[in-house]
């Protein structure tokens, strides 16, 4: 009954034993992912700067 209600991939044992596998990343996608990663790191630094400025501005 359980197996007739679930798809194969929904069964815990099947899901644990199977993987979709690593995809091949094209150079364009790698550049995109790295670019966005650098963007986030730079932005996080700027948030810290912004917070420090706010702390110093607080009486």
């Amino acid at each position: 009954m359980v197996l007739s209600l679930l798809e194969t991939d929904q069964v815990v044992a099947a899901k644990q034993q199977t993987r979709f596998g690593r995809r091949t990343l094209s150079p364009g996608i790698k550049i995109l992912l790295w670019g966005l990663r650098v963007y986030v790191v730079v932005m996080f630094v700027l948030v810290v700067v912004s917070v420090i400025r706010a702390i110093h501005a607080t009486p």
Binding site: M1, V2, L3, S4, L5, L6, E7, T8, D9, Q10, V11, V12, A13, A14, K15, Q16, Q17, T18, R19, F20, G21, R22, R23, T24, L25, S26, I29, L32, L33, L36, R37, Y39, V40, V42, M43, F44, L46, V47, V49, S50, V51, R53, A54, I55
Partner: protein, 477 residues
């Protein structure tokens, strides 16, 4: 672009692929029958309810679609009402107090449309792949990119959890409840929701709490808003906000971050998987997501309208924290209205604390390969439940530290959410275009166009924030 590593990723069960093959028809059905778990049985029970609702007899045909929708509604409503959390409702309140009824009313509607575009993709991804978002990123992109994604999620989630407990403390503080008691109430709610060991029960309890986000509606009505002005604003996006451009930009960022955040992607996909949704349920999942976005947008606009009296009376709310909004509103919306507002902030914190701590636990379990389902009893999935409770307890404890500079966390958490979204969106769009994962359910042209426009918009807004931070005088800051 696509490809899979052969052999090393296969097993006696074959390799994962997009299929709707029922397990009973599978060549390995015999093997699977002997390996069923408590989680499988609970998920099958939930599927049986949906199947039975779909095949109800002639007498109940009229209500069949409604019954199926009732059973399948959940992840979408929870993710959007969970995102109407304490810092988000406070961002909307600050918006109403600072700028009144105008540009930001339709702008908030736009942000929920953006959220809808993003979250709809997670429904398809979860229903087709039966994998959580963190698990898929690790599978398809490897550990390097997986840990980067997880890093963003863990930092963002923990900071956000802190703000939820700040909201819980502030909301109950209006009623004179001591902080340690308020935080304790919040933790009891998180514990209470998970003690059933059933995803279905957890979902219904949390939905029941989430609907109280609607408390902002009576608060808004008691503020006697200028309804023609609301209609005018929705149609014309005016009056435009007046003031320092840097301040307006920060509120724009905070309002976007109040609607689209990385945890929403991870949470809804994992909840769709835990709920046992299948590709045939995608339409219902879209409705669920649309319903969630609509309700959340209405409640968000209600928060703006509720605090508009502060704008009209020239009250400076720029330094207000949670309970101070309620106290400041009392002269204009009455003590009942102020109490409803404070209860709304409390509710916003409670539901988000439950949803966000669950999102962290799902991601941790998916990455570590341990049990990660609310259908598992605590003994079977103690790492999952430990992460869930541990993150909530740590955030609650921090809020009780005297003189902790938490107001800066509140100020920045929504901004951080917006800044962390572009990489999360990139992975989402890449995955939902991955035919090896999605099969026939890959994005169409318009879905890709919408997703790319949203990503570019968020990057642009983030860059604008960065420029104004580096050159504060550029916009008169």
């Amino acid at each position: 672009m696509s490809g899979r590593k052969p052999d090393s990723e296969t097993s006696s069960f074959g390799s994962a692929r997009p299929t709707t093959e029922i397990a009973a028809s599978s060549p390995v059905a015999g093997d699977l029958a002997g390996l069923l778990t408590h989680e499988d049985v609970d998920r099958a029970r939930d599927r049986w309810r949906v199947t039975r609702a779909r095949w109800q007899g002639r007498g109940a045909q009229r209500f069949r679609p409604l019954r199926v929708l009732w059973l399948l509604v959940g992840p979408g409503v929870l993710v959007f009402l969970g995102e109407n959390d304490a810092p988000s409702m406070l961002s909307y309140s600050a918006t109403g107090a600072r700028f009144g009824i105008g540009f930001f009313v339709p702008f908030v509607v736009l942000t929920f449309l953006i959220g809808l575009v993003v979250q709809e993709m997670t429904v398809r991804l979860g229903a087709v792949s039966h994998r959580g978002h963190a698990e898929l990123i690790f599978d398809r992109f490897g550990k390097f990119w997986g840990f980067f994604s997880m890093g963003d999620l863990v930092i963002g989630n923990f900071l956000t959890l802190i703000t939820e407990f700040i909201g819980i403390r502030a909301g109950l503080g209006f009623f004179g409840v001591r902080p340690v008691v308020a935080v304790g109430v919040g933790l009891i709610a998180v514990v209470g929701a998970i003690t059933t060991g059933r995803y279905w029960t957890w979902e219904r309890i949390t939905l029941g709490l989430a609907i109280f986000n609607g408390l902002f509606i009576p608060a808004a009505i008691l503020a006697h808003p200028d309804w023609p002005a609301v209609g005018h604003a929705l149609l014309t996006w005016t009056p435009l906000p007046q003031g320092r451009a840097a301040e307006i930009l920060l509120l724009i960022l905070a309002d976007i971050g109040a609607t689209v955040t990385p945890w929403m992607i991870f949470f809804q996909q994992s909840a769709v998987v835990d709920k046992g949704m299948q590709p045939r349920d995608i339409r219902a999942g879209r409705f669920d997501t649309l319903l969630g976005a609509t309700l959340a947008a209405i409640f968000a606009i209600a928060a703006i309208l509720a605090t508009a009296p502060l704008f009209h009376h020239g009250i400076d709310a720029s330094q207000f924290q949670g309970a101070q909004f309620a106290e400041a509103l009392a002269p204009w919306i009455g003590h009942v209205g102020a109490a409803l507002f404070a209860l709304g902030i409390f509710e916003a914190g409670i539901v988000a604390a439950i949803a966000i701590s669950t999102s962290s636990a799902y991601a941790f379990g998916e990455v570590m390969g341990t049990g990660h389902s609310l259908n598992r009893p605590v003994a079977d999935a103690w790492p999952f439940y430990s992460t869930l409770l541990g993150s909530a307890c740590a955030a609650g404890a921090l809020v009780l530290i005297p003189h902790a500079p938490l107001e800066f966390v509140v100020l920045t958490v929504n901004v951080i959410a917006v800044l962390a979204m572009p990489p999360a969106l990139a992975f989402l769009i890449l995955l939902v275009n991955d035919r090896d994962v999605m099969g026939e359910h890959v994005n169409g042209f318009w879905e890709n166009a919408a997703g790319i426009v949203v990503t570019v918009l968020l990057v642009g807004v983030g860059i604008a924030f960065g420029v104004t931070t580096v050159f504060p005088r550029l916009l008169g800051g």
